[in-house]
Symmetry: C2
Subunit: 239 residues, 2 copies
DNA sequence: ACCTGAACACCGTTCAAGT
DNA sequence: ACCTGAACACCGTTCAAGT
């Protein structure tokens, strides 16, 4: 009757696997959002009672750590086309899209530094491209961290409602223009810049804000690369 | 007997003010952390029962919005010394220190876009400096958003335990070197870069990561400023 | 106008007990 | 080895009722 032999070192399948647990958590997250992802709901998704989960996982934190890496399972590295800048841009654009594509993914991933297998795969690939581009090892490591923190932080901002006036009700465009009106009505003698820039502050879409920020970061990396290769050419290297 | 007349439009003081509520929330946050900040505990801090709070505040979300702005109450803009780059750097360094100085502040503030009075004050100041530095209005608005998202996102990463192995137990230095060992033990044929850069990836302190990232962003802003002022000088402006 | 009691529908986690 | 019942100590929020 036990048809599906996995072939590895588990003699009888235990009904619940860590893998099954994490995949179920992903389904619950997609369906209910991060607020609805409780140990109890996850248990019922698996046809089991909540305390059972604690046999497979130390606590909810560990579950979220596992889930964090699972969220990276189908993240794609960009094609190796174009220069390093084009490739890094594509990395960030894809990572953002990936996080936005899975419900509340950024809220799970946000403050979590988990070196799971899927993340390691992506890091390995990105570090390789950074070194090929000519970045020093120490810089490549820093840049890898920087880009991750940058995109995650950005998408996290993007997930929350644009303002206090909320996700319940009006769409982003309306909320933004309302916020613009509010800024314009401020006393101009104490807030001249906010009044003058009301449109500039509330107008741009999140897309636009992200790509603006991304281009600034990429410019900064360009500068670093020029500086360090400049040093290598004209510097006092012991070569 | 009602000694403390506020003088404004509140005839009898209602025992609970929104202000008192928010200040109490700040004390609870400092004492118990974000996980300990519940409506019930906040109520007991105020010598009142939980349902009372809902007279003053729509729900916990609104409370957190108010708290977010209160967290900015004593944030200091840097002195107007040095060039724009020095001032923006100091802005970010101070903002980071400010967030790190209040327990779990970044976790409250993170995905929350609340244009409260204290934030508006800082925005007004920063936008002024950006315009004086020569940034175009649209750019100044974008940069203001970028820097906020950048610092908040960064500090949020910094707050979580450095790795899964946890806040409970070993300090950051130990965890970092342990993570380094783990990377070094990876199969070098599939993870050559991770193995080679193990030390670079796990060595740097959060201080170092932050200031590296910050200098890159500032470099990026320099490039933007040069480009746009270049365009203004040699461009086809209708001046 | 402002506060409370009681209740609803939940949480994460532990632990003795079952198989 | 793996799962459950029962319990502990909590949550956010509503709502009739009190003053």
């Amino acid at each position: 009757m036990a048809v599906e032999g996995k072939g590895d070192d588990s003699p009888q399948q235990p009904g619940l696997t860590r893998q099954a647990l994490v995949r179920a958590a992903l389904r619950v997250l997609e369906r209910e959002g991060v607020g609805g992802l409780s140990m109890r709901r996850l248990a019922s998704e698996l046809g089991v009672k909540a305390p059972s989960l604690y046999w497979h996982v130390r606590n909810k934190e560990e579950l979220l750590d596992l889930l964090t890496d699972e969220l990276m399972a189908d993240a794609q590295a960009p094609p190796r086309e174009g220069d390093w800048r084009e490739q890094l841009r594509e990395y960030c654009v894809r990572y953002r899209r990936h996080l936005l594509g899975k419900r509340d993914a950024a809220k799970v991933v946000a403050g979590r530094l988990v070196p799971g297998p899927h993340l390691l795969r992506l890091m390995e690939d990105q570090l390789g491209r950074l070194r090929e581009a000519g970045f020093a090892d120490a810089d490549a490591a820093m840049i890898n961290y920087l880009l991750g923190a940058f995109v995650q932080g950005f998408v996290l901002q993007e997930l929350g409602p644009l303002s206090a006036s909320e996700a319940m009700g009006a769409d982003r465009r309306e909320v933004a223009t309302a916020a613009g009106e509010q800024l314009r009505r401020l006393p101009p003698e104490t807030f001249p810049h906010l009044v003058a820039l009301a449109g500039d502050l509330t107008g741009p879409s999140m897309e636009a804000r992200f790509s603006f920020a991304l281009e600034r970061v990429l410019d900064g990396l360009s500068t670093l690369l020029e500086q360090s290769s400049g040093v290598r050419e004209e510097g006092t290297s012991h070569e």
